[in-house]
Symmetry: C2
Subunit: 190 residues, 2 copies
DNA sequence: AAAAGATTGTGATCTACATCACGTAACCCA
DNA sequence: TGGGTTACGTGATGTAGATCACAATCTTTT
């Protein structure tokens, strides 16, 4: 699907904009294409934008001790991603974002987002709900982390996003679950 | 500090309301007082409200297998709490909220919040930012969970909220850290 | 098509933390 | 003021998952 239509249908679920308003909104987004493996945000970068995924799959991750990787989010079409802590607090990125597959994204700068939120009540409404859903999902994941063992978390993840099983290498799924790739591999037999 | 002043100063940090607008906003809140140990939300309840803490300390927690407790949030003055998943998706509460100390709260119904957000752009702005901060904090905690051992998480928590050490029994701090009370106790000696 | 790198599986061993068990001290509240 | 509940410490033992090591594919690049 075309980027503009995808975004429009996505927004329409929570906010009512006229076609004219949406066209204006859309004009602030910059379309970007990336190849598999390309980096969008690196640790230490100044972060100015957030990204709406049109096609492909990104990962937002943290590297500890230059060795261990922890994946905060897989970002699929219609998902938003960035290092929101860095973006809102104007601090250097602690999170990396790169492309698991070739990907197309729409890039929106933080200043444009704030401008658009101030100009259109409905746009502010949309972003409140988007963040709200992210917050609820994040709380659920935290609870699952405290409450469930690796096997249960793995099954939950696959039930929620079956396409990940074939799209994403297993060691990345392990990094999302916060477990070693060896342990994840052994789960298949138990 | 008086409940109304506390809320007004809290809101003023992110939204500009005239005194008249704030008075109208405030008129939708219901002040409630609770004693130490009293329950505000029980698992299975229909959840209609969110709560702004004026004084005291609440905990939002999840009980697994009728045995293990996991604390999602300690809620102190100027913090907001509820079972947001239940509140937004109109599902029965999975989270409990009760009082660690005597507490005063201001209660806002979800329908009033949505009404106020629709009526005043600045109020929608405020709630977007509040949720945004919650989302960022939740992501940070998730990262710390994956990345750090118990001792580091304990030190982080005490650095962020030193008052918790004396205010809250250790087994509740253990339940927040997702660790057994015995292990937490042993950390003091190591 | 060959070489190099990435991905996955699996055994052996190690470790952080859980669980069980028991003892002591502090705090309610009738 | 005394008896019961709650809080907290600490030893002994169990276990999920980490780490190390190596081998077998599968993918990408030249």
């Amino acid at each position: 699907m075309e980027a503009k239509t995808l975004l429009q249908e996505h927004i329409a679920k929570t906010a009512s904009l006229t076609q004219e308003e949406f066209d204006y909104f859309f004009s602030h987004f910059k379309p970007l294409s990336f190849k598999k493996g390309q980096t969008i945000i690196s640790e230490g970068d100044k972060v100015d934008c957030e990204y709406f995924v049109v096609s492909g799959c990104l990962k937002a991750f943290f590297i500890n001790d230059e060795i261990k990787m922890y994946i905060l989010q897989f970002a699929m079409p219609t998902w938003w991603t960035s290092d929101y802590n860095a973006l809102y607090n104007q601090t250097p990125a602690q999170i990396n974002v790169d492309c698991i597959t070739d990907a197309e994204v729409l890039c929106l700068s933080s200043s444009d987002r704030e401008k658009l939120c101030a100009e259109f009540h409905q746009i502010e409404h949309f972003f409140r709900w988007r963040t709200n859903k992210g917050y609820i999902a994040s709380q659920k994941r935290l609870l699952s982390f405290m409450n469930n063992n690796v096997k249960t978390r793995y099954e939950e993840l696959l039930a929620l996003y079956p396409q990940l099983y074939n799209l994403v290498p297993k060691h990345l799924i392990a990094a999302y679950l916060g477990v070693s790739r060896e342990t994840l591999s052994r789960l298949h037999n138990s």
